[in-house]
Amino acid sequence: MTEAPVRSILVGLGSCGLAAGGQAVYDRCRGLLGAQPNGTVLKPTGCIGLCYREVLVEVRDGAGRRTLYGEVTPERAERIIAEHVRQGRVVTEWVVDPEEAFTKQQRIVLRNCGVIDPTRLEEYQARDGYRALEQALTAMTPAQVIAVIADSGLRGRGGAGFPTGTKWRLAQAAKDAVKYIICNGDEGDPGAFMDRSVLEGDPHSVLEGMAIAAYAIGASAGYLYVRAEYPEAVRRLRQAIGQAERHGLLGANILGRGFDFRVALKEGAGAFVCGEETALIASIEGKRGMPRVRPPFPVEAGLWGHPTSINNVETFANVPWIILHGAEAFRAYGTAGSKGTKVFALAGKVRRGGLVEVPMGITIREVITEIGGGTPSGRPFKAVQMGGPSGGCLPAALAETPIDYEQLAATGAIMGSGGMVVMDDSTCMVDVARFFLSFTQNESCGKCTFCRVGTKRMLEILERICAGQGREEDTTLLAELGEQIKVSSLCGLGQTAPNPVLTTLRYFQDEYRAHILDRRCPAKVCLPLVQFWIEAERCNGCGLCVAVCAAGAIHGERKQPHRIDPEACVKCARCLAECRQGAIEKR
């Protein structure tokens, strides 16, 4: 055995890391270290949030120094191991400055993501894991647990923002020997992936939160409902549940305190509406996931007719932290009505996309420009879409709006689950509205007529506007239909489906007018309203565009500038995607 300082190497193997080629980096490291083991431990870790720099590799030396490398490839990993691990020389050019992205962040939910090896219970325990459960079981009554959560001001992180303490209190008050806890991990909003990251990167924090909730309301069984599209999360959760059961942290007689709580994992089968709590319950019961009328609310009559508290993944991940640090510490962050932090999935036209956790009350601008680094083009952002298909598009003019449930709702958007998709002048807001409507229309379960038929009619109108066949009365019609769908739908899906349309109508009326009155798409996204042409100076006559043209509309001699016959062009944009000279333009 050599006396080399204990070093560990962590490779980010969340879904983002894997998609960026993390497994190959991990395997290369293992291969290299395997040849000359010198006490260096190689471990996988979850998503640290800097998705734009994946694959991320962290090297920790004996003195506790941590060096984070970004955009690591197997080749780069070789050099990192040869120089940093073997000779103690940091490869400075690939080091990520954590300041660049972590400023203004406050990590409660993501406290362990990208820090621990999620496949090892000991690492979670080494960071105070399951201590909150122990404290709750040994030193607190259920009522005291609920009081702390209520006092902290924690509200549901799945979108609606219902106070968690109130929900638990109602579930606890319900008279029934059988009660259930459900963790809603059916993260269906396109553009949101924070729940997946928590489930993959810190599965035990969610299990601990569920166990504390179960103790508080008096439940002895729980279900963790995870989206079918998250195979990695499912694998890690299965493993985590097994570990917790073996260590007496889940199952019968937890920590010897006579409290029983079993968790079963349920894989969703692909239906957006199952994010709605009554639909989710129907799905766990093995039925079609259709929502039902409330009341009775699930806290009175939920799964199999028994009182059920359903909370979101992020909500549960907050719970152990609050129990350990106290309501006061949590309340120190935030605004009058919104306490703590919120995790956002920052994506779209933003330089530093990924997961960010910020204290409530920070402004949208701070998140996009200071944490996200603004747009890649450097041009100002035009809009930000918040809350996915249930949310809305806010213009840059409202960028000073603070992250707060009520203030966001006042703009027409919602906090939602935390998707934040940044858009610049190359994004067409009418097209975005059409995109979301096509999603909700497709996902409507069909129970309520207004949602089923109304969204379809709205989509048809948006499609004709994008195709250059909009009519003057269309915007009024959209607004009218939207309001009716909102008030005539049973569940959150229908009640919020018109939001992307209504907010774009409110803030980007000029873009609708350009499409309808001038037959023009200002962002040049709606292809029927765009003309394609070849910039002769940049065209080298390679002929790639001729080969892909769907209509045989491109002509020219080899090695001579080509041209597009506008009469024959069907505007499929294949030439644009194909051209390597950037010679094809839209106008």
Partner: protein
């Protein structure tokens, strides 16, 4: 049109049968059973529906009702490789539509169709949750990000070549495309 998968052996079918009986009478097992059927066969064949209906006592009509409600379930067999192209918000904003066209051009199939040689089934999904790497697609369990139409074509050609040639053991072990 059916592409019998050579890897479905009798043990897998028997395992599914055993699971059916083991969970007999357990409430809420319909969806896990359908998932198991799909894992076994690659899709849910009508005989499996009959079997589930018989053992659980849930009418076949109701079983079909559940199958058709959820996007995950398929009533048609799939090709050797399943392509899931993401059309979430971030991917849409980053030009996923061009990738749909590129996959269609390359494979000569539309969404929810299987290529004639049975190598690929092409599907479009709402969001794979890798928004920072948009636009993305998955082939089986592997995710590919920051794609362009050229990259997509190259990727599909690699898969096709490997499907045509007998796979080298090294490539299989590494999970290489």
């Amino acid at each position: 049109m059916a592409h019998p998968r050579p890897d479905i052996g009798a043990p897998a079918v028997h395992a599914f049968g055993r699971m059916l009986w083991r969970h007999r009478g357990e409430p809420g097992m319909l969806i896990p059973l359908l998932q198991a059927a799909q894992d076994t066969y690659g899709y849910i064949p009508p005989p499996a529906v009959e079997q589930i209906a018989q053992v659980t006592g849930i009418p076949a009509s109701e079983v079909y009702g559940v199958i058709t409600f959820y996007k995950q379930f398929r009533l048609k067999p799939v090709g050797r490789h399943l392509i899931r192209l993401c059309k979430g918000t971030a991917c849409h904003v980053q030009g996923a539509e061009m990738l749909v066209q590129a996959v269609g051009d390359e494979l000569k199939v539309g969404p929810d169709e299987t290529t004639e040689d049975g190598v690929f089934t092409f599907t479009i999904v709402a969001c794979l949750g890798c928004c920072s790497l948009a636009p993305v697609l998955m082939v089986d369990d592997r995710t590919y990000g920051k794609l362009t139409t050229q990259k997509v074509r190259r990727l599909l050609r690699q898969y096709r070549q490997r499907a045509a040639a007998p796979a080298s053991p090294a490539a299989v072990a590494a999970g290489e495309p």
